[in-house]
Each structure stands twice: as C-alpha cells, then as structure tokens.
Amino acid sequence: MTFSADSLTPLEWKFSQVFGERAPGEDVQEGDVITTIGFEKSGDYLAVGDRSGRVVIFERSESKDDSLLYDSRKDLEQLDFAPARHPTFQYKTEFQSHEPEFDYLKSVEIEERINKLKWCATHSGLLFILSANDKTIKQWKVKDHKVKKVKEMSPIPVLCPENVLLAEGSFTNEEESPSIAHSCHLEWTEKLAQNHSPYQDTHARIGDIEGASRARCRKVYTHAHDFSINSISNNSDGETFISADDLRINLWNLDVSEQCFNIIDMKPSSMEDLTEVITSAEFHPAHCNLLAYSSSRGLIRLADMRQAALCDHGARILQHGESRGPKSFFTEIITSISDIKFLNDGRHLISRDYMTLKLWDMNMDSSPVAIFKIHEYLRPKLPELYNNDCIFDKFECCTSGDGLHFATGSYSNLLRVFPDGVGSEGGVIIGAGTTPNRPFIVFLSSRAGGPFTKLLQGIEDHP
C-alpha cells in the first residue's frame, strides 16, 4: 500500500501491485498465510513473513543508478508522485527464518510462524532484519551476492612459474565447481579459450554484475521468553532492541545474543491473579530511553528507562477515561489494545482496539486526541462475534511517514485510511481484492473469510 498523493489533495487510492496471486481454483495453503509485513525505513524494501516461517523480501524496482541521479531525497519523493514514477516492487529474495521446534521440557510445539519482522539499519547494500516467532528472535543479514565476471584480459608474460598458482588455481577451481557458495564467484568467459599460454597475468578487468541475494543468520536470541513474543522494536541508539511477550519485556544488545535484561515483568506471583497482558510494545522513534507498551486492559504505558533498571513502576499511563462509561459484557474485551505505533513526530501515537483507532498525544493522558471508528456496524453483532471468537481478532495499525495518515484493517478485505484531523466517520475505505480493475463493492453485512482478511490485519504504510 502506498500513499500516492500529498496531504493537501484528497487521497486517491489506486490498485498498484499484487504478489502471490492464486490461479483460479487454487487453494490457499495454510503455510502461505501472511502473518506480518514491514517496510524498511527508506521505503526501498518490503519484508513479508508467513506462517511457515519464511521471510520474503521485495525491492523497489527502479534501478539504483537512477536514484543516484537525483540530488536529494526530496527530488525523489516528488518524482514518486508523478504517475510515471509510481514505485513498484519486485521480488528480491526469500529465506526460511524459523523451523518448527519442540520444547521437550514443557512438551509444547513451537510454531515456525513469524510473528514480527523489524528492519535494522541498512549498511552498504546489506540489509539486516530481525524476525521473531513465539519464542526466538533471529537477526538476518541479506547480502547482494556479487558475481564477478572477467571482462577483459591482458596477457602479460610472467617471470616465474609459481605465479600461475595465484592465477590459474582459482579459475580451474571455479570452473570445476561453478557453485555460488563462495560469495566472490569468478566466471571465466570464453576468452579463456583464446589464451594459448598458461603463463599469463591476471590483470583482468573484473566487473560486477548483479547476482542473487543470500540471507545468513547472524544472531539467534533465544531462551528468554516463556510466553509468546508479540512485538520487537529497535531503539534509536542503533545498538539495542526490545522483545515483548504476554507478560515480560526484555532488552537486548544487537551484538550480544547470550544475555538480555528483563526490564518489565507483569507476571503476578500466582497466575490466578493475572488481570492483564502486554499486547504490543514499541520504542520512541527518537528518545532512546522512552518506550510505550499497551495492555489488554486498554492502557498504554510510557516507561522511562532512565529512571530505573526495572521499569515496572512509575510509568505514565495513557487511558481513555470515558470508555469506562456504559459497560456491557463486551466492553472489557473490545478495549483490549491490539497494536500501538509511534508517529514520526515523536509526540503522538496511535492505538488500535477492536472497534476503533485512537490517536494520542503523549502529553494528554486522560483521553485520545481523536477516535476513528472502524466498523461501527458490527456493534450490534458483538454477541455473534463473541460466539465465533472473532471478537478476539487482533488488528494492526500504522501511520504514513509524514504522520498525516493512519491505516488499519477491518473485515471483508477492507482497509481503512484516515487523514489526521477528520472526524471519526471520515476516511477512506479501500477493498483489497485480487482483481485490480474490478469495481469495488463493499459488503458491509457479511464477514468474508479467506487469506486477505489476515493480510489486512497486517497492513503497513509506505513510509
């Protein structure tokens, strides 16, 4: 999903691209169901995780040389708005991030399903991704695999015969096994045939051509979570990240996988006293010491890591007081926050609960700045949704890079996008269908099943 216009003109949404389209009549495999997606900070890459533990990476398809021609990011962004320069993505690579495991001590199966993906700082063409299933977080390094090709050779007679060792050894070796396991792979072109003498220098011009990308697991952060991991978040200091499960939040150093620090522990001494669980956690985009986490009781807590090593206490709480008003059986369930995200301005954050998307100002803890209703028509149907467990579905939310638009998912393949400042009923409804030009019809009454419901629960804006 990309934003195609700036905030001044009303948003016009067009269908852009679809990946993994099914052939007519083809069944959706359980393992192919997408569980999480995430854009890289610059917007050049998109990662998608699925239930069978795979991570697929897509890359913006304009060639990199093009983007170098433009001086600044701003020029590029303006270009993006022009229809001709509409960004499209292409498949880059995929890898198996997690495998199914079995915890013999607790006798439980650990699914390979990817719960969260986060991009770390990219570095000279290298991409770093954190991926987590229920228990284990892994750091992956995706490397463009340069295939070196000898373009030109200048045969110079050599003095001593051993010199061949440096030259010939490599090429014969590579010729015999043209595998690409060695990241620096030399391809011998037909010029070899013309070289009558084996004694020749290797002053060959070697040009890089684009090869396949390869992902390698760099670190495995494990044995730190007793419960299912629901979020991971990078710190702005570039050195640490947190991982949150239902009851605890741990702080890690990216380079140290043997050790982590528990900074928040909500586990009561007896599990019978359990009243709330952590549903989502995120670091502030600029202040390295600030972190927000949401709970099933509808609270957002802001913790300052500077105050104490354990941040359980003394957190500021953002809570919507009025929501306690008329209580029904379902009130408690639908106030549970399923996702929170900071806006890039560092002052606001958005939260998603079952029925609404809320915009908060960190300085106003008694009520949200705005409430966006997602699917109010479902309110009379809550008993039904409770009976078929849909009321426990978790939806994510996200913001655009400029912080002026928020998007979140709903049922029936629907996606809601709200510009900042419109009322609760405003915003755009977009249907995510597989046929681009099909006239868009919204079926408000029925809840559509299928894979895209899940996809919509994991939407992400282009930064």
Partner: protein
C-alpha cells in the same frame, strides 16, 4: 601443477585454499598467511599477495576477522617499515565492513602498523586514510576512523593537526549515535596526543558537547573520558572543567550514567585530587550510595573501601559510615552482597575504635543476613577484620553463622563454606577448631550430596596439612576409620577416598599401621564398587609404604581381588598388580 617444485607444493596448496569454497580451508590458509608470505618473498608478497587480499573483501566474517588479525603483524613480511604502507588498503576496506569485531580488529592492526610507520609515510598514507574513513558514506567507516586519530595526530604537520581536530569534533556531532559513541570512547586516547594548548580549547569543547548528548549511551561513555582527561589537565583546569561535569553526571536523569559514575568514581577522584574530592565528590558519592536505583547502589557499595582509603578517616566516619549502615539493611540483597564483599577492607582504614564501635554491628548484621551470598562474602574476608579486632571478639559472633552456613539447605552454600574451613582453621588456631568445627568436618563426609562428601574428604586432607600428622592422628584418623563400617556403601566409598587423600600427608608409618588395615578389611566388602575402589586406593598408596608391606599385605590382597567374580574388580586389581610389577622392575 607438475611444473611446481616439490618444496613449494604445500605453499601452492595454501594459496589454492585461499580461494576454496570451504570456509574452514580458507580460514586455515589465512591463519598461515605468514608462511605463504615468507615463501613468496617480500616483493611478491607486496605485489601479489596483498593486492589479492585487498580484493578478497567480500567474504565470510570469520575469514575477514582472521585476515584483520594477521595483517597487523605483517610488517616484516612485506619488507619492513618502509613498505608498511602497502598493508593499509586491505585494512582500510576491513574497517568498513558491518561486523563490529572485524572492524575493531582492523583498527587495532592499523594502530599497530601506524605506530611503527615512518613519519613521512604516516603523513602520505596514514592520515589520508583516516580522513577518508572519517568522511565515509557508511557509519561503519566513521566509527573505525575515531580509533585511529591518536596514531595519526602526533606526526601531522600543523595544518593537518588543525584539520584532524576539526574532523574529530565533527565525528562527535555525527548523526549516527554509533559514531558518537566511538568518538566518546576514543576521546581519552586522542586527547593524550593533543598539545595542552589545544586540549583546553578544542578538546574540552568536544568533551562538553558529548556530556550533553541526548543519548544515554553516549553520555555514559563520556564519563570514562572524564578520568582520562582529568589526568591530562592541570589540577586547576581539572577542577574548573571536569569536576562540574562529574557532579552533574552523578545527578544525571539516567541511572545508567549514574551507575558509570559510581563505577568510575575512584578514578575520577584520583583525577581531580584530594582537596576537591573532599569538598565536592564526597557529597556526590553519598548521593550515589543513597540512589533510588539498586544497580547504582550496588556499584557504589562495591567501591566504599577504595573511596574511604582516599579520604581521611574522620570524613569517612562522618559521611560515609552512616550510608554504609543504611546499605547493610538495604532492600536489595545484591546491594548487601556487594557491601559485604568490601566492608572488611574498611576496618584497617577506620582503626580499631571506630571498627568496634561502628563497623562491628554492621558486620554482625551482615553475618546474620538471610541470603547466604552476603554471609559468605563476609566470611571470605575474615582475616582483614581479625587483624583489627582480634580473634576472641570475632569468634563469638562468627561461630553461629558458620554453623548455620555449614548446614544450609543449598548444597552450593555448604560447598562454599567447606572451602573456607582450612583458611578459618589457620586463622582461628587449633584450639578453637577442635571445640567447634571438628564435628562439622566429619558430618560433611556423610552428606547427601556427593560433591559435599568429596569436598569434605579434601577438606580433611588440607586440615591435616595445616595442623600436621600428629594432630590429625588424634582428631581425624580415629573418627574416619570409625565410619568405614557405615551401613551405606556410598559413605564407605567416601571414607576410602578420604584415606587415599590422607595417606600421602600422614606418611608411611601411620599409613601402614592404621590406614592400610582398614583398606584391606574393606576389600572383603560385599559391594563390588567398594572392592574395585579398594583396588584403586591400594594402587595410589603402595608407593608410600615400605616394600615389605607391599609384598606382605598389598600384593596378596590384589591377587585375591583379581579372582573376584566381578569384571571391574578383576580389571582394577590386575592393573594394580601390573603397577607393582612395573615399580619392582625399575
């Protein structure tokens, strides 16, 4: 390959493996890079091997790490100092890779090479390299650059020096916190090479920027450079510039920064000198001891003795001791444990009167602490207090604590206290030991946990060494021999173990008259495990005793055992017989 001379063949193999697909082979080859270089000779190493390595930068991290390390000691293989510059390009590339440990190693190697290079080579090659890295597009290059300035700076001409200083100050304001962290942690080294006139102006302003950084992780590294800079500055400048920063840091919002101050305080005090310490840092330290974050208190409590040593006793009694009293009943066991591990050292500093009046109550309350770690930490430093207050006072309060620990329900605690028993025994003397601790030592031999029984046996050996065979004959041997008739075979085995340990200490006479008969009796045991242990024990003690005893007692016993129905017993006894025969032969 047929053209290759025979002796060169292994070299050929190594060179070939530099390009192998298998990481392990490449790694092996890189590890033997010096061999390859020696075989190729200086000139070809310069012209072929090094350029090859420079191109080979797109490799596995492990190989790159090995390469960064090897190149650091390569100067002699490329033809000495005048050619050292050829090593810079491959290391420069390694300085920009994303793996931190590779970069760190490459920087280390560059520093090593740079410190050997001739001055004009430094100006021609090394300084441009530093500048290139500092202007690098990726933060990794800039991070590495920070660690090279201290090598480059001193030999630079005046113009370049100004430039280097300004580049460094830019790095301290870099957008990436990683670069600022690297600049902060290298500031001390760089400052040491800068002339004192610039130190006060340029470096101090860089330093002040870093101390105001909004990232905690940068500020806490700046704490470290406080001490380093303080040592470089004149005392009055130090008081004017560094002291306020330290005081500020000690009240920083972030507990991690305060923790660093608490950890570094001793070095900081040394840097500012005694008088300002008294005036400014004592209050700061008292604040840290009363910090509301337990981690900070742990760090501060661990430094209490060191700190008291540099201030005068009156000040310590007046200001520090009340805090120590509070800490001894701190809510965090880790704080109390940290305090317990150093508080003993305060006794000599405060003197006898203050120790008895003030320190002893604290120390007794820690000895009764509910957490075994705290008690153990006290007991392990007993000798220091002993010197000050004397053994009588000490033993009154000490004994109940020791007995309690010796019976702690965690076996690791019991194990720890056993290990202190010989030390305590030597400090407290024979008399005290006989009355109170002797029974405990025997009790351990019948512990439920094997590690404790084993430690108990070793403990007896060490006591016998400490007090001598005569004492052991009276106080250890009878009790031990009594236990060989225990109804549980595991306890009998422990006794055999104790005997084999005691025998060398007790000497041949006691061994053959007292210990050996007991072992021989045990060889008639009904449990095969006991019997083959007898065989093992006999094997270890026969060299101690007289030859005639071996022939008369030990050999028949072995012979008897070697006809045992159990295969293990037969095996160990035949081993024993062989051992005896071997000794006889020689």
């Amino acid at each position: 390959m047929s053209a290759v001379d025979e002796p060169l063949y292994p070299i050929a193999l190594l060179i070939d493996e530099l390009k192998n697909d298998d990481i392990q082979l490449r790694l092996n080859s890189i590890r033997r890079l010096s061999t390859i270089a020696r075989a190729l000779g200086e000139e070809r190493t310069r012209k072929e091997l090094i350029p090859f390595l420079s191109e080979n930068n797109d490799d596995d991290d492990e190989v790159l790490l090995a390469m960064a390390e090897e190149l650091g000691v390569f100067v002699s293989y490329v033809g000495g100092v005048e050619h050292a510059h050829v090593l810079l390009p491959p290391l420069e590339t390694l300085c920009t890779v994303e793996e931190t440990c590779v970069r760190d190693r490459a920087v280390e190697s560059l520093c090593r090479i740079g410190s050997q290079m001739r001055e004009n080579d430094l100006v021609d090659c090394f300084i441009p390299l530093v500048k290139r890295l500092a202007a690098g597009e990726w933060f990794t290059a800039r991070v590495s650059a920070c660690g090279l300035f201290h090598i480059a700076y001193s030999s630079a001409p005046e113009m370049l020096k100004t430039e280097l200083r300004s580049i460094y100050s830019q790095l301290c304001q870099d957008d990436m916190p990683m670069v600022r962290r690297s600049a902060a942690s290298n500031l001390g080294k760089f400052a040491a090479t800068v002339e004192s006139s610039h130190l006060k102006t340029d470096i101090m302003s860089i330093f002040e920027d870093l101390t105001r950084d909004d990232q905690d992780s940068v500020r806490l590294l700046a704490v470290e450079s406080c001490a380093a800079l303080g040592k470089l500055l004149e005392p009055q400048d130090c008081v004017a510039h560094i002291l306020p920063v330290i005081v500020n840091f000690s009240q920083d919002k972030s507990w991690r920064v305060r923790y660093m101050v608490a950890n570094q305080l001793y070095e900081l005090c040394e840097a500012v000198g005694p008088e300002p310490t008294r005036m400014e840092l004592v209050p700061a330290y008292v604040r840290l001891l009363r910090d509301n974050e337990a981690e900070v208190r742990i760090a501060a409590a661990g430094k209490v003795t060191k700190f008291c040593r540099i201030v005068n006793p009156d000040l310590a009694i007046q200001n520090i001791l009340p805090c120590v009293k509070e800490l001894s009943s701190d809510s965090s066991q880790h704080v109390r444990s940290a305090l317990a591990s150093v508080i003993m050292g305060m006794a000599p500093v405060l003197g006898k009167d203050a120790t008895i009046d003030q320190l002893l109550p604290i120390f007794l309350s820690l000895l009764k602490d509910e957490f075994p770690d705290v008690r153990l930490n006290i007991i392990s430093k007993l000798d220091q207090v002993n010197q000050v207050i004397g053994i009588d006072l000490l033993s009154q309060s000490l004994l109940p604590a020791i007995v309690e620990l010796a019976e702690d329900r965690h076996w690791r605690v019991r194990l720890a206290i056993i290990e202190y028993i010989p030390l305590l025994a030597s400090q407290l003397g024979v008399g005290f030991f006989d009355d109170k601790l002797g029974a405990l030592c025997m009790q351990w031999l019948q512990d439920k946990v094997h590690a404790i029984r084993e430690a108990g046996a070793t403990n007896l050996k060490r006591l016998a060494e400490e007090f001598g065979p005569v004492w052991a004959m009276q106080h250890i041997i009878p009790q031990v021999l009594e236990m060989i008739n225990n109804s549980h075979y595991l306890y009998r085995m422990t006794i055999l173990r104790a005997i084999s340990l005691l025998a060398p200490v007790m000497g041949p006479e006691i061994t053959s008259s007292k210990l050996l008969p007991a072992v021989i009796t045990a060889s008639k045991d009904r449990v095969p495990n006991i019997k083959f242990n007898v065989a093992k024990v006999l094997q270890s003690i026969f060299p101690i005793v007289d030859q005639s005893v071996v022939e008369k007692t030990i050999r028949p016993c072995f012979v008897e055992l070697s006809e045992d129905p159990d295969v293990d017993v037969r095996y160990f006894s035949s081993q024993g017989l062989q051992a005896i025969d071997n000794v006889m032969m020689s």
